[in-house]
Each structure stands twice: as C-alpha cells, then as structure tokens.
C-alpha cells in the first residue's frame, strides 16, 4: 500500500469548492499531468499563494468543513495526485469529492474541529504521518500530537485495493 503524508499545508477555511481547486476552464485538458500547474489557482484565502513554496513541497492538506463541495470533477483529486498530495485531512468533505479520493486510492480523513485546531497550532511547518492499520494521524510541528480516526470500512478496502476500478474489476 501507498505511504500517506509528509509536509502539510493548511487551508484554514470552510467550503473550499472544486472550482477553487481546479477551475472549469482546465477541464478541457485530456491528461491528468497537464493539470499540475493549476492547483488551487482560484482559491479565495488570505495569504495563500498557489505558486508558493509551501504548496509545492506539500504532501498533505489540512482543512476545515465541507472540503471539495460543488462539481463532480475528479480533476479536483487528480490535481492533488499529480502534485504528489494523496492525503487530505478535514473536518468534513463533500460526498462526491470524498468518494473520488477513495476511488483513486487516496485518503480523505475526517477529524473533529478541535483536532484540526491543534494541528494548526503546531505552526506552519507540520509533518503528517498516517498509520492506516492503527487508525492514527501523527502531526509533528512545534510538538508532536497524535489523533485516532475512523474510516468507513469500504473506503479502507478501496484504498487497499488501489481504487474502485481495480476493486470493481475483480469483484463484479
């Protein structure tokens, strides 16, 4: 199975939508790789630089409620994938975005707001490590903290299978 985590970038806002993650005008691209430069291009968040170092080096995203709301575009997941981000930790996710993440064998982990507060309080250099077997997230910054999380069991199956297409091809 893949490794999940690494340096994290915090997007401290609710309701970050798919158009902010990848604007519709790039949906005419016919390869995932072509999406790479446009990650979070239209994100409306004070101080956020879509071309900055912290996004370029990020391997995980930490965010708030209802992340990925709006369009069904899986491009919003692929644009993370091609930028080597395969983990999003948030208070909650929009249904289609969450399903798209697991369908691609990537991880969307829900933690309570107080845990997200704690991660954010660790400063702007935070490393995240996920232990899928134990169901824990470890965040290292100013100090080290650890949280338990739960995944829907079928979502975990999909991650283990490497995504929904691989699972469905084997089982149906």
């Amino acid at each position: 199975m893949k490794e999940f985590g690494g340096p994290a970038i915090v997007l401290d806002r609710n309701d970050i939508n798919t158009d902010e993650i990848i604007p519709a005008k790039y949906l005419t691209e016919s390869s995932k790789a072509a999406l790479k430069p446009y990650i979070l291009e239209d994100l409306n968040l004070a101080g956020f630089d879509p071309h900055g170092e912290s996004l370029r080096t990020a391997r995980a995203i930490v965010t708030r409620k209802n992340f990925g709301c709006g369009s069904s575009r899986e491009h919003a997941v692929w644009v993370f994938e091609v930028n080597n981000i395969n983990l999003v930790i948030g208070e909650s996710f929009a249904r289609i975005f969450r399903q798209n993440m697991f369908n691609c064998g990537m991880l969307a982990i829900e933690l309570p707001g107080s845990d997200i507060d704690t991660i954010i309080s660790l400063g702007n250099k935070v490393e995240i490590a996920v232990d899928l077997e134990k169901g824990t997230v470890v965040a290292r910054g100013a100090k080290e903290v650890s949280f338990a999380f739960q995944l829907n069991p079928f979502d975990l199956e999909l991650v283990k299978a490497g995504g929904w297409l691989a699972y469905a091809d084997k089982n149906y």
Binding site: N14, G70, N100, A168
Partner: protein, 428 residues
C-alpha cells in the same frame, strides 16, 4: 417499519453489500457528457478495458461546449462521438440535436420512477424530480459504471423537506430552493437524500420540480427526490403508454415508490412559502442568499438565461412576460441559451424567441456555455451577471466575475432595469 423512496430504490437494485453501510447498486442509466467522459474513455482504453456494459443503458451528449470552440474541446467531443459509434450507443446527441444534459435526457423519456441514474456531473440530482435516485459521481465511478453497470454508495439518510403554503405571484421554484439552501447552508444536506414533499411540490410542473431538485447538490445533497405522481405520469406518457392500460394505472403503479408515511427520516423541515419574496445570491456561495429587495439597485453587465436549472420552456415563458415590449438596459448584454432543441423550437413557435430578440438578447444554441464560464458569455474581470444558473462560485462564469443567481423572472427584470430589482414591479 416504513421505507423512504431512496431505501426502496436501493433495495430494488442491490448487487452487493460489501459492508452493512455500503452498497453496490445496479445502475439503470449511465449518462455521459464531453467534459468528464473522454478522460474515462481514454483511461479505459489505456487499461485495455474499452468495453461498455450495455449500450442501451448509456446515454451521451456533447453539451458543455458545443459547437466546439477550439481544438481541445473539439477533441473532447470527438473522443465521445467516436466511442459512442464504436460501441453502438444509439442515444448519442451531437450538434443539431444536443442540449444541456439534465434538460435533454428527461425530455427524451430516459428517466423513470424507481431508476438509478449516475453521471459524471454534480447536477445529476435533477433527475430525482421523476422519483429516481440520481447522483453525480466522479470519473472513476463513471468508468466502473460504463464497464460494469454498477456504482457504490453509502446507505443514504433522508431529509424530509415539506413545502407548504401558497406560492405568491412572481415567486418560483428557484426562489424556493435558494431560500432552502440559505437555511440549510451549503453543507446542510451532505450525504443525504432530500425528499421534496408537500402541497407546493404536488402542485408544481415537472419543470419546476427539476429546478428544485437541480440545486439539492448546492446544499450538499446526494439527490433531491419528488414523489412520482400524475404530473410525472403525464410528462412521461408518450414514453410509457405501451406499458400501462391507461394513465391512471401508471399513477397507481408509481405509488409503490413513494416514501412510506412511517419511514424514518434523519430530519424534517417544514417550509411555508406564503410569505416568500424573490431570492438572489450575493456572494460566492449558493447559500449567500438575500431577498431581492435587499439587493435592489446592484448594477449588472450581463444577463444569462439558460442552464439545467432554468433553461426550460416554462422558464423562457416567465422571462418573456417581462421582456415583451421592453428593451435591455443600455449597458446590459442579454444572453438566452434555450436548454434543448425542443425548448428552442417551442419558444420559436410561441413567439418567445422574437420577444427576446426584440428586447436585444443574443439567442445562442442549446449549450451549457457561460454557466461554467467556458464559452458563449464568459465575464471579464469585475463584471457582474444576473443569471438563472445554479453556481455563483468565485470565477465560475469567468475569472474575477460576479454571478448573482436568481429566477428567470428576476433575471428578466434585471435585464430591462440594468440592475437587480424586484420583478414583481414589472408584472401587470
């Protein structure tokens, strides 16, 4: 214990239950358009899996950017077109026959009560208006749908939205759903099916019900559903008349899909529309909604009437009531995109196209166009659009543009006033 309509549809379509919470459903209709499907097609090809589970259950349309505007969109249309031909997908709609998917496919009679419907498009929830379970999905789900005819869902909870009272003059389904989204917020129905019930829904046309269900996703909902009834049966009659001895029999049969009176809901809200006034969005989220009276005077540069939310004949008729014998405000551009060729044709026959043109509108072919900022009316930085579409996200109709969502009647009033204004002032 009773069941909701979604539970009944799930029970009738279970292929597998990998966990008690998760089900894999057989899918009745897999719908495809040229933005999200080509990448699924090329991926399946690359994996040596270029197959379809059943060409009669796949429906495809080029609708988002059509006729193609550049080489990239031409390629997307071509990939879909070639694929439809290769696999004998007869229900493929191309230039000349195409229209916005969520308006076109219902018109063709493809959606029936009790169906499971998926599409790589978030507004697939529209089709719940027919008493179907219809959900937007991503490209991987679409690939599996195309290949295997199945899709996975968590067992959804249902929220009961009971709409009561009397819709005032000048207030429409669009105003109702904007107000509901305002109350629920963009996250209020996440992972939930929304049953839209009550006398107001019973009294709505199929068009209005589609407007209502179309925006369920803007509250996070998986699907909005209306109970299939006589209105549904009448709309579908040309397509189902061979299956039933008479309309009455169809109406009776449809009842098997109704949510039971003792079904369990995760929550219930009752919403009285009697005092509702026209609603308008003000920000970059569809729950940022105000009464039109609070938005009075907001200047606009463009009016857009169309889309899967409000580009149907009923919508055009309402807008035409205000536009008739009036002119666009001098600084305003008006764009009408009838949602389907049939809508266009009816609007021509009824003199509605002439009313729009005499008013100064540009009438485009049926397409999504400016709704998602890809063609036919993209905004410039700093421009403002009064729009009958469903999303006002930052940059949705063009980078730096502002979109105010509203009903066709409110959009028509804004067109002639040059600013957001109360459409009821224009009704005689």
């Amino acid at each position: 214990m009773g069941k909701t309509i979604a539970q009944k549809i799930f029970d009738a379509h279970v292929r597998d239950t990998p966990t008690p919470e998760n089900v894999v459903l057989d899918i009745d209709v897999v719908m495809c358009h040229e933005i999200t499907t080509p990448i699924a097609i090329t991926d399946l090809e690359a994996r040596g899996m270029d197959r379809v589970f059943d060409p009669t259950k796949i429906k495809a349309v080029v609708d988002h950017v059509t006729p193609s505007k550049d080489s990239k969109t031409a390629l997307q249309a071509k990939v879909l077109r070639d694929w439809a031909r290769r696999h004998g997908i007869k229900d493929f709609f191309d230039v000349g026959a195409n229209g916005v998917c969520h308006a076109l496919f219902p018109e063709k009679g493809f959606i029936r009560p009790g169906y499971t419907v998926i599409m790589g498009d978030s507004h697939t929830c529209t089709h719940g208006a027919f008493g179907a379970f219809a959900a937007g999905i991503g490209t991987t789900d679409l690939e599996v749908g195309i290949l295997k005819g199945v899709c996975t869902f968590r067992r959804p909870e249902t929220m009961r939205v009971n709409i009561v009272g009397q819709l005032p003059v000048g207030v429409y389904a669009k105003d109702v759903i904007l107000k509901i989204i305002k109350d629920l917020t963009v996250n209020g129905a996440t992972d939930k099916v929304m049953d839209f019930v009550g006398p107001v829904v019973d009294g709505m046309s199929m068009e209005s019900r589609m407007t209502l269900c179309n925006m369920a996703i803007e509250a996070g909902g998986t699907c909005g559903i209306c109970m299939p009834d006589r209105v549904t049966a009448e709309y579908l009659w040309p397509f189902i008349s061979d299956d039933y001895v008479n309309l009455e029999a169809a109406v009776e049969d449809f009842k098997k899909w109704h949510s039971d009176p003792d079904a369990t809901y995760s929550s219930e809200i009752t919403f009285d529309v009697s005092g509702l006034v026209p609603q308008v969005t003000y920000g970059f989220k569809p729950d940022e909604v105000k009464d039109v009276t609070e938005m009075e005077g907001t200047l606009i540069d463009q009016v857009y009437i169309g889309s899967c939310t409000n580009g149907r004949i009923e919508d055009l008729r309402e807008a035409a009531k205000i536009l008739k014998n009036r002119k666009l405000a001098a600084h305003v551009r008006g764009i009408l995109a009838p949602a389907t060729p049939k809508v266009y044709d009816l609007a021509l026959a009824e003199g509605i196209i002439k009313i729009f043109m005499d008013c100064g509108f540009c009438v485009t072919n049926p397409t999504c166009g400016a709704c998602l900022g890809m063609s036919n009316g993209v905004l410039a930085e700093g421009e403002v659009c009064a729009s009958t579409t469903n999303r006002n996200f930052n940059g949705r109709m063009g980078k730096g543009g502002m979109v105010h969502l509203m009903s066709p009647l409110s959009a028509a009033a804004a067109a002639v006033a040059g600013k957001i204004t109360d459409p009821r002032l224009f009704l005689d």
